[in-house]
Amino acid sequence: MNIIIGNQKGGVGKTTHGILLSNYLVLEKKKELLILDMDFQGSIKTKYDQDCEIYDNVPLYEVLQLELDSFSSIFEQLKHTDGYVIIDLPGKIDDNNLVLVFEQADLVICPFSYDKLTFESTIVFAQVVRHINKDVPLFFLPNRLKATVNYSIRQQVNEALSGFGTIAPEIPDHIALQRIDCFTISEKAKAAVRNAYEFIYSSFQEKNSSNNQV
């Protein structure tokens, strides 16, 4: 099961949700998983290594850093695993190696925020994913919403993105989502992400089971 976390825009929360979703799947859903950090910045791998040095806890999963061009030599192995593989992508779309990654995806999660620049990048990312893989479930994750801000383009953005995938429940801006590690998920962070993650998880499970019946 390959779960991709990507967006052409940087700084939308790919790394944060890569870690939080992985922790959530292991701790709440008791899943076995592996993270492939394919972002050239290697943020998840760096965070994971730092956390392993600091904390004594047994790691929940392993993180491997891979370059995008290595994917062609490993995707066959990924096809035959019974666990979850979370793939953190770089914030770019102009790499031919991404074609195979999108083709092999079982689920794509695209964090974004309601601002014009992010929307423009997100819609391009969505178009590319849909063009390469028309069947993959694509979830847009509205991230870091401030309670005091009125997002004037929210409705237009949701309407435009709905043509490519499903909009997940919004994730509020919360300090607990900045204080994360690769071993735990705090109660406050869990409360902030639970609705969105449960929505994606149950929608995906539902779709998956109906596909299997067909």
């Binding site: 592996l34 040095e53 600091i54 806890n57 491997l64 030599s73 035959h80 695993t81 019974d82």
Partner: protein
């Protein structure tokens, strides 16, 4: 024929092997020009290699001073303490963190165990005073 499903642990080790293999082949390719350069430079062969340096470090580690031996004993004692339920954070000074990170990398010290152990000692030492302060009421209805 349907290929057998592999679990995450097997997949991880397969991918690790793949990465190691790729790194090795990259290193071999980049090492060739350096090897040629070494052969032409006679001075280089007289200098100690990385391997000889690491063997010296290993000897130094094996020949510890008495205070270092005592510290290792404490580390082993603290690491063996399994009655702590470690699931809460504490924040410490950045320089203290640096010292313990170094110590952890050298001695495999479980920092959270040591912190719990030191705080437990503190609690034992001041147990009566802590109970007195904890039970001190400042409530006009309860104190009368």
């Amino acid at each position: 024929m349907k290929k057998k499903q592999i679990n995450i642990k097997s997949l991880t080790s397969e991918l690790k092997n793949h990465i190691t293999h790729k790194e090795k082949s990259t290193k071999v390719r980049t090492a060739i020009p350096e090897e040629k350069k070494k052969n032409t430079d006679s001075e280089c062969s007289m200098k100690p290699t990385d391997n000889s340096r690491s063997s010296t470090q290993f000897k130094e580690l094996g020949n510890r001073s008495e205070p270092a031996e005592k510290l290792i004993d404490i580390v082993n004692k603290v690491n063996a303490m399994d009655h702590y339920k470690i699931d809460r954070f504490i924040y410490v000074d950045a320089d203290i963190h640096e010292v313990f990170t170094k110590l952890k990398s050298q001695t495999k010290l479980k920092i959270s165990h040591l912190a719990s152990y030191l705080l437990e000692e503190f609690i034992h030492q001041h147990k009566e005073a802590i109970i007195e302060i904890a039970n001190k009421r400042n409530n006009k209805f309860l104190d009368t």
